[in-house]
């Protein structure tokens, strides 16, 4: 993994990820996951509560590029993309996606080891028209971008 060293990984991070890897090989998924899953944030039922559980109040940062559709054909499947410009915002180690009006706003959280571009695409459920947030953690600080996505009624409405 010369690429990882070339990117200037800290010794601490390297040890953490190799340790995780060791566990992962022995026990796929379950154990190492439990070490880092933000349970409290997932259980939060309001946006502020979820953000508080993730750490602190995030600052808006232009280095985060957050793409969601302005209008979604269907709230059950809303495609989202989070990209972080590592020049503008280096050392991002975690990215979270929140949907303001969902029963539990935190939809997903991603741990990013050094060497992985911060580029994540997935699809989330959006219960109703509201604001979506992408929150990035770098060097212990939280940064964010937000986007409104309108969810429309489709078909015959019944």
């Amino acid at each position: 993994m010369t690429t990882i060293h070339a990117k200037g990984i800290s010794r601490r991070d390297w040890l953490r990820w190799t340790a995780l890897l060791g566990v992962a090989v022995a026990l796929p998924g379950r154990v190492w996951a439990a070490m880092t899953r933000p349970e409290e944030a997932f259980g939060a039922t309001g946006l502020d509560e979820a953000l508080a559980a993730l750490g602190a109040t995030p600052q808006v940062h232009e280095g985060i590029q957050f793409t969601t559709p302005d209008i979604a054909e269907n709230g059950a499947v809303v495609p989202i993309r989070v990209e972080v410009d590592s020049q503008a915002l280096p050392n991002v180690s975690k990215v979270s996606v929140l949907v303001e009006m969902n029963p539990n706003p935190l939809a997903a959280s991603f741990d990013i080891p050094p060497g992985t571009e911060v580029y994540i695409e997935t699809r989330v459920k959006v219960a109703q028209t509201c604001t979506l947030y992408a929150v990035a953690e770098a060097d212990g600080q939280l940064y964010m971008q937000s986007r409104e996505t309108k969810v429309t009624l489709g078909g015959c409405g019944g």
């Binding site: 309108k150 429309t152 009624l153 015959c156 409405g157 019944g158």
Partner: protein, 202 residues
């Protein structure tokens, strides 16, 4: 292919033999092909005079006299509001216009039916999810609230066939889809100057 929007168009251009009823076997086929499900019972497959007259496949010759008589009959059967009051609450009317449920096998029969106006019509300019099967009704209130206008609009909602035989629109009053109060609320949603239908887009 030419697009015929309403049956009356077909009716006026027809001449030869007449469309009265589908082939004899179709009722039996439908009885064997469907099964009652909750409130969607089998008697719903039986057609009344309007449904039968308006089931002609495209290009079928029609009986103009029969159709004209049927339209007249529908017009005479319209029930105007008992107290002469046509306008209810536009805010409740907005709910009726946006609600697509009611009378389906999957619907709760204890809940009020919707009118589902937005399925086919544009109404408030701020709502982007509107259908185009019917004409846009945005700014409908500009037509005013004269007695003639109130009665015309009520009649369209009560039984569209009174004016436009074989229109695609449901007979919200005549078929008991909406209550008299709901119809008044929809009337207000269309005609009240304060209704979003009659506001400029944001």
């Amino acid at each position: 292919m030419k697009c015929l929007t309403v049956g009356i168009t077909i009716a006026l251009s027809a001449s030869m033999a007449t469309w009265t009823k589908a082939s004899d076997g179709i009722e039996a086929v439908l009885q064997n092909s469907f099964i009652a499900n909750n409130q969607a019972t089998m008697d719903r497959l039986e057609r009344d005079a309007v449904q039968t007259a308006c089931s002609a496949p495209r290009g079928t010759p029609l009986d103009n006299e029969m159709l004209a008589a049927l339209r007249e009959e529908r017009l005479n059967a319209v029930v105007l509001p008992a107290n002469g009051q046509y306008l209810g609450d536009w805010q409740r009317g907005a709910e009726v216009a946006g609600n697509g449920r009611g009378l389906q096998s999957s619907d709760d029969p204890t809940k009020p039916n919707g009118g589902n106006c937005y399925a086919c019509h544009q109404l408030a300019p701020g709502e982007v999810a509107y259908g185009t099967l019917g004409p846009s009704l945005t700014g409908y209130g500009a037509r005013g609230q004269s007695q003639a206008m109130l009665q015309y609009t009520w009649t369209k909602l009560w039984d569209t066939h009174a004016y436009n035989l074989c229109s695609h629109m449901p007979r919200f009053g005549a078929q008991g889809i909406l209550t008299e109060q709901q119809l008044k609320d929809v009337m207000a949603y269309l005609l009240d100057p304060a209704s979003p239908v009659n506001q400029a887009a944001e």
